[in-house]
């Protein structure tokens, strides 16, 4: 019945409006339509019976995770998790025991849109190493107009039963990173996907300038300096980073310079600096209605 309605009644009105993204949801599944990323063309179709069997295999683990969450909720004193001024609380420590399943490395060559390559590995000194080769050469398919990016980012944290969660960085004021770069500039990206789909692609960015050379540098960047973008476009209406709703942390190399890049990372941490009172570094001028941002 649903297939009849969607294919015969709803679809023709959609075709007349020349909408070519998949608005007709297949009746055999319920899922949110993605608002970004690439479609997985090699995705295997799984029968409902097989999907139920696969789900039941994971049920035991998920119940165990859920009981641990409940125990932690009952026993953990939230005061112990509160940041103390001047201390750096490490979020990610990059060493030999780094779990690469928690990081996703991408570059423009993944979907045949460029020739850059990148990897996340362990450096000879036992720290994390994000390295590769950046190339701004365009693929000659007539569609790609810009090329040359490499990125690695953390996966979104999940609670039990595959529920999406957030990193809660509320109470902190600065992002602290101990890195050793090659003199190139990188972009730090904080993903802050919202509840509704218009906000799924909201991110906050700031530059990471590296000195190069043999010495490590500690970059302490206030969250007030991060600026908001949506699908890569800087927004006119800027706002402070919603620190209680961080979904991912990533670093991108795309400074339009061809050649190899190398960024060693020791740790990524957070700090509370009580003397830092700024909430957002970007002034907001009151503009008339129907101007930018409304």
């Amino acid at each position: 019945m649903h297939r009849f309605l969607t294919s015969n009644i709803c679809a023709p009105s959609i075709w007349s409006r020349r909408i070519n993204f998949p608005v007709v949801v297949p009746s055999s599944s319920f899922h949110e339509i993605r608002k970004n990323g690439y479609e997985d063309k090699n995705r295997k179709k799984v029968s409902p019976r097989q999907a139920i069997r696969d789900g039941l295999k994971e049920l035991k683990n998920e119940i165990k995770n859920w009981t641990e969450e409940v125990k932690e909720g009952c026993t953990l004193d939230p005061i112990m998790g509160m940041p103390l001024p001047g201390e750096v609380d490490m979020q990610w420590c990059f060493n030999e025991s780094i779990d690469f399943d928690h990081w996703v490395v991408t570059s423009d060559s993944d979907h045949n849109e460029g020739y850059s390559t990148s990897t996340l590995s362990v450096s000879p000194t036992g720290k994390g190493l994000f390295s590769g080769n950046l190339s701004t050469q365009l693929v000659r398919d007539g569609k790609v107009k810009k090329a040359g990016y490499c990125n690695f980012k953390s996966i979104r944290p999940q609670k039990s039963f595959k529920r999406d969660s957030f990193h809660n960085w509320s109470g902190y004021t600065h992002l602290v990173m101990r890195v050793r770069g090659d003199g190139r500039s990188y972009m730090i990206t904080l993903g802050t996907a919202g509840y509704f789909d218009v906000n799924w692609n909201d991110q906050f960015h700031f530059a990471l300038y590296t000195r190069g050379g043999p010495h490590w540098q500690i970059s302490k960047i206030p969250f007030s300096k991060f600026y908001m973008t949506s699908r890569g476009r800087i927004q006119d209406m800027q706002e402070p980073v919603p620190l209680n709703r961080i979904t991912s942390f990533g670093i991108t190399a795309s400074d339009k310079n061809n050649g190899p890049f190398r960024l060693e990372i020791d740790y990524v941490g957070l700090e509370l600096d009580p003397s830092h009172k700024e909430t957002s570094a970007y002034e907001q001028y009151k503009v008339p209605y129907f101007y930018a941002g409304y």
Binding site: G73, L76, P78, I79, G81, M82, P83, L84, P85, S170, G171, G194, Y195, F196, N199, D202, M237, E239, P242, N244, L272, P274, S275, G293, Y294
Partner: protein, 328 residues
């Protein structure tokens, strides 16, 4: 911001919706008042245009609309002489409007996105309309109503223990107070009115201080540019909110407990007292975190703020107002 004509219009509309419901001759006119209330509150939430406030306003609109749909369907059920179904739907709709457990999730996610003055309106003024309608129908619900009361008391007290955001703490405290309000309304309207007004008087200075010093998390108390000897006033008012004698917040709880015990509802009174203990614990924890870390001098310049006259008056009323029981 608060004196712009459009916002004053919204505040007047909210007041009008309250008067509309208080004087409405029928359930349909009351529903109209609820809709006006929702409509007028949305622009208040959107004063500061951020993605979080937009998200909160859409969530608020959707949940309130769902509750209004349930109420309108209950009106249709009453019209069709299906009184049992109508009563159930009306109770569920009004509970969603109030944010009473187990329909409280929306108020948590909305409260996080609001600034303090608007949060105060959400936790106080927005409850008047559904509470009054609940009072009108409270004799028809029986056990289901009792379940909602007990769940509000328990959820509001237990879930507040794991929170560090002051907005969520105040919201859970409000859910717990909602349980007390529902009990008071089921006995007598004037008891509910008294509890409600005292709750407003006690909550207002706390929220005013949180607003002045921009406190969003409990680790920010020691960052206040406020001398410790004056900070004690803030924490005494928080304890008043927790219902501790000899402060004003104890008065309504005392009255309701007295009535509940005299009616022989011992189980209810036990739950109410236990829930109060848990809420008092998380109020006290706010005090501890402030005074344990507050002794260290973090600032070179010693510029201390002082509270305004209204704030001092509300604080003094909250802390010293218990002798008002002589007039009750």
């Amino acid at each position: 911001m608060w004196f712009s004509p459009s916002l004053i219009l919204m505040l007047i509309s909210i007041m009008s919706s309250v008067f509309l419901i208080l004087s409405s001759p029928s359930l349909f006119i009351s529903w109209l008042g609820l809709e006006l209330n929702t409509l007028a509150f949305l622009p208040l939430m959107l004063v500061k245009k951020t993605s979080m406030s937009s998200e909160g306003s859409v969530k608020y609109f959707l949940t309130q609309t769902l509750a209004s749909i349930l109420i309108i369907i209950s009106i249709v059920m009453f019209f069709l002489d299906l009184n049992n179904v109508g009563n159930s739907l009306l109770l569920v709709g009004l509970s969603i409007k109030l944010g009473a457990a187990p329909f409280h999730s929306w108020i948590l996610s909305v409260a996080e996105t609001l600034n303090w003055p608007v949060l105060f309106i959400l936790l106080t003024v927005q409850k008047i309309n559904p509470l009054f309608m609940l009072w009108n129908f409270s004799s028809y619900w029986g056990n289901v109503f009792d379940v909602i009361i007990i769940m509000s008391l328990v959820v509001g007290s237990l879930m507040g223990l794991i929170q560090t955001s002051t907005r969520l703490l105040m919201t859970f405290s409000s859910i717990s107070h909602m349980g007390w309000l529902l009990i008071s309304v089921s006995f007598d309207l004037w008891m509910g009115v008294l509890y409600f007004f005292i709750y407003m008087v006690v909550l207002l200075p706390v929220i005013m201080i949180f607003n002045i010093f921009n406190i969003s998390y409990i680790n920010e108390f020691f960052l206040m540019n406020f001398s410790l000897s004056k900070q004690i006033l803030l924490f005494l008012s928080i304890l008043s909110l927790g219902g501790l004698p000899p402060f004003l917040g104890f008065l309504p709880k005392w009255l309701i407990l007295q009535v509940v015990v005299s009616m022989g509802w011992y189980f209810f009174s036990l739950i109410m007292i236990l829930a109060s203990l848990f809420t008092l614990f998380f109020y006290l924890r706010m005090t501890f975190t402030a005074f344990i870390l507050g002794g260290s001098s973090l600032f070179e310049t010693k510029i201390f703020y002082s509270l305004g006259n209204l704030n001092l008056f509300m604080l003094s009323l909250s802390i010293l107002g218990l002798p008002l029981f002589l007039f009750v």
